[in-house]
């Protein structure tokens, strides 16, 4: 398998930036398109290896089946939980208004 080095456009970077909630200026986009293309190109060297006989690796550690028992442990106090929040009302974290009840999907 061979892969030619990929070039990322400023449009690609803008999309990734949006997904990461980063406000990138035109200059940022130009600079990062170049830098990210180099990174992707570097990683794509892996594509030159023949991996036909290599099993996919789900995790770098050679460990499996790590569990804990279903036993309650101490939680933080509400004050501790909220202490680093930019804004809170003593009970809940406060954020700018969002639409909808929950993101749960």
């Amino acid at each position: 398998m061979s892969t030619s080095p990929q070039t990322l456009t400023t449009k690609d970077v803008a999309k990734v930036g949006l997904l990461a909630r980063l406000a990138l200026s035109e200059a940022d986009l130009e600079r990062m398109a170049g830098e990210l293309s180099k990174i992707v190109g570097f990683v794509s060297m892996l594509g030159e290896l023949d991996t036909a006989d290599v099993a996919p690796l789900a995790h770098p550690l050679d460990t499996q089946n790590v569990f804990r028992d279903d036993v309650p442990a101490a939680s933080l106090s509400t004050a501790e939980a909220l202490q680093s929040a930019p804004r809170h009302d003593g009970e809940c974290f406060l954020v700018p208004a969002v639409l909808g009840e929950s993101s749960a999907a």
Binding site: H59, V95, P96
Partner: protein, 498 residues
Amino acid sequence: MSTNTPYTTIIGLEVHVQLMTRTKLFCGCSTKFGGAPNTQVCPTCLGLPGSLPVMNRQAFDLALRAALALECTIAPFTKWDRKNYFYPDLPKGYQISQFDLPFSSDGFLEVVDPKGAFEPRRVGIVRVHLEEDAGKSMHDDAAGTGDTRIDLNRAGTPLCEIVTQPDLRSPQEARAWLNELKLLLVYLGVSDCNMQEGSLRVDANVNLHIPVPATAGAEARIAKTPIVEIKNMNSFRSVERALTYEAARQWEEWQATKAEMGKTPKQTRGWDDPAGITRAQRHKEESSDYRYFPEPDLVPVTVTAERIQSIRGGMGEPPVSLRKTLASQWQISAYDADVLVNQGRELVDYFEDLATRVGEGKVASNWMQQDVLRILNETNGTVSAFPVRPAGLADLIGRVKKGDFDTSRAREIFAEMVTSGRPVDDVVAGMGISAVSDDDVIALCRELLAANPKIVADVKSGKEQAAAGLIGQAKKKNANVNPGKVRAICLDLIREMG
């Protein structure tokens, strides 16, 4: 198909159930419902830097139990992935879920309507996987602060996601199937499936398949309307209503626009229960790009055949086979078995206890359905708190069989047993009812025959129904006599007279 619409409604469901664990999926915080906001949180479920998740064994085992009950194939190797998106109720900025290697797939759950409202339907299960829940956002418009408040008590709660094939063909079927799924999961102790507390949530995908007749230039074909995902349904009744509304809406839209699937992106609509309509939800165009990648903080899990065997062994009997067991063991109809099983394990246990004591399934089943269930429904009570236990009811039924009282008298006694919580004999004494001895009944009958020569003559001449007049009089003289017995003895005595 029971509908006579000019289209077929195609429905698939996506169900999330909260697993019955004491603690969250990746940390030791309690999953108990109703705690004060942000009292069940720790660095792990708050997503604080440096914290690491560790999988709850009980959550995995319960999910495995659900998957086995749904006849899924269990993957020997499974891993978790990060589903990346930003939302204030998701503190890590990603949800730990399963993407390409869910722990189970390809199962089914059948739903049968005992009254035959629809054909038995086997609904395929695409996959069952294990993931964490998000927190809760609360927005109070009335407060006018413009802030949304976030409570992260729910964040990290273990959820089983169950995705069906688009195999359901009507809103009624969808509702019935959800009832069956809920019954199964509650029976097996996987989830309490309490929708009010958010332990069960349903989204539905629906579209229509519409036969389009051949025209000059084209062959006959099936047109498919764009798939709509419906959210915000908070009861199974809402699911049925929302699907009914949505199918009709799509039919209208099809007639107006002829828009077909694939030409527009999948739409999400929210169910507005008071208004009884679905409304288009704002489409976040980037929302589908979750950039899944393997969760580096969790190691994979392998499941052996032994593990599956041991989970299966401790599962208990699912409703579908319990219905058959009850029907054959106690000689009751499939319909009766269905009614009993659908009420839950506790009621079945009560029934089996009662039937064993009474020594007869049919009588026990009749009392369960006509009396116990009726009172439970009227009083909104639970079986476990029902004041008359199987032993007490068996006592009463035994007395009826002995002929101490007739059924309508027994019903009055039963009602009093329920109200007072006292045993049969106490109630009987308190109500001034006493079992009438056979000698007393015979004496009473002789007295009546002597006082009613006309009736005696009528019966002698072959009009046995005339004896009914004696029963009314007997009841007046002694309210506790068994009318059947009075009738039989009177007829015997008249026959003896020759």
